[in-house]
């Protein structure tokens, strides 16, 4: 039994405003939002965190490094396709995007520290070893950045897990960036 992918015409009344503003922002309603809309609380939560992240101390490229690392590690093909597209929109260097999609380390030392922190957070479910935390501080990140990373991890946990549960199909708008993992990397 499939989960419904809503449009702003089929969605529960209280989800419609969120879908309309999403359509305005992206030019269409991504399937993730269409699935979340079945629960007005969930779609509003997702949009609310996204809005809060406009105040993030992380640059748009750094935010996409985090989103892509979470999504590849959690093996969420939908989210990798969507965030690869967004990464191109915010001009992430092509070499960085390719490495992230292939789950390889990054030659940019600072971005790689960010990627390493994210993998450590997921692997240890938040129990990040002291060395990993020191590593990201040495790369120039602060407590504020670390909290912003955790906010993105929460946002992507919501989308990765919902997409796993609902088997959300990739939108045609993201099809050029479709992705398949070689192996799931988290036990």
């Amino acid at each position: 039994m499939k989960f419904q992918i809503h449009t702003k015409d089929t969605a529960p009344e209280t989800s419609r405003a969120t879908l309309e503003s999403t359509a305005k922002k992206y030019g269409f309603v991504p399937n993730l939002y269409g699935v979340l809309a079945e629960s007005p609380a969930a779609v509003q939560a997702y949009a609310g965190i996204n809005k809060a992240l406009e105040q993030s101390a992380l640059s748009p490229v750094e935010q996409q490094v985090v989103a892509l690392t979470v999504s590849t590690t959690n093996d969420c093909a939908y989210c990798v396709g969507a965030h690869s597209t967004v990464a191109q929109m915010v001009s992430m260097p092509e070499a960085v995007l390719t490495a992230l999609r292939e789950q390889r380390s990054l030659s940019d030392r600072k971005l790689n520290a960010l990627r390493t922190l994210v993998m450590s957070i997921l692997r240890y479910r938040g129990w990040v070893p002291e060395d990993d935390l020191q590593h990201v501080v040495a790369a120039g990140y602060t407590q504020r950045h670390v909290l912003d990373v955790l906010t993105l991890v929460a946002l992507k946990t919501l989308s990765n897990y919902v997409n796993h549960i609902a088997h959300t199909p990739l939108d045609v708008q993201f099809a050029a960036q479709s992705w398949k993992s070689r192996t799931a990397t988290v036990a």
Binding site: A41, A42, G48, A52, L133
Partner: protein
């Protein structure tokens, strides 16, 4: 040991100040989790809007606390376990119900199904078996409630992970962790 500063709302300035005042008005105190979040306006605002959106959802306040307890136990977050056991008690939940929730058990069938779904989502990182999804639906959960439960899991993972990284000092009656980790890769030692 705390690894991220716990801000004092009395002397905080900037964007966190107004958010702290909102928390103070709503809860009567500013718990340490929020004092940690205050170091990052995006994180504090994100957490508050996440909470507010789910508070308007279809799951009752009591069920929401029970989910938080089940997820905190699975992730071995003593701070969250202490906070949500305290809040659950204030909402009138029996001590036995609060204790049962740690193992994702409830006497009410529907609540029991929600807690087990939440625990499966945490432990399996969202990758549910078809039979697990079917059990949730058989217990009467709608697709909207299933998605909302996943959102609660994400919200609680947010606070669990923050507390793990920050080493947030527990400022609720402390509940100690007694059980082994539910998750294979837990590094809580």
């Amino acid at each position: 040991m705390n690894r991220i500063a716990h801000l004092d709302p009395q002397i905080t300035t900037g964007p966190a100040k107004a958010l702290f005042e909102g928390v103070q008005k709503k809860l009567g105190v500013v718990p340490n989790l929020f004092r940690v979040l205050g170091n990052a306006p995006a994180a504090l605002q994100g957490y508050l809007s996440f909470n507010t959106a789910l508070a308007d959802g279809s799951l009752s306040p009591k069920v929401r606390e029970l989910i938080a307890i089940a997820v905190a136990e699975a992730n071995q977050c003593a701070y969250c376990l202490s906070a949500h056991t305290f809040i659950g008690g204030k909402l009138g939940l029996a001590q036995q119900d609060l204790a049962d929730a740690r193992q994702a058990n409830a006497t009410d069938n529907r609540t029991d199904a929600i807690l087990k779904l939440a625990r499966h989502i945490v432990v399996q990182r969202g990758e549910l078996e078809a039979t697990e999804l079917e059990q949730a639906r058989t217990a009467g959960l709608t697709d909207g409630e299933i998605i909302e439960t996943a959102a609660h899991v994400a919200l609680n993972i947010f606070s669990n992970y923050i507390n793990h990284i920050a080493g947030t000092v527990i400022d609720f009656p402390e509940i100690t962790l007694t059980h082994g980790c539910a998750t294979s890769s837990c590094a809580c030692g």
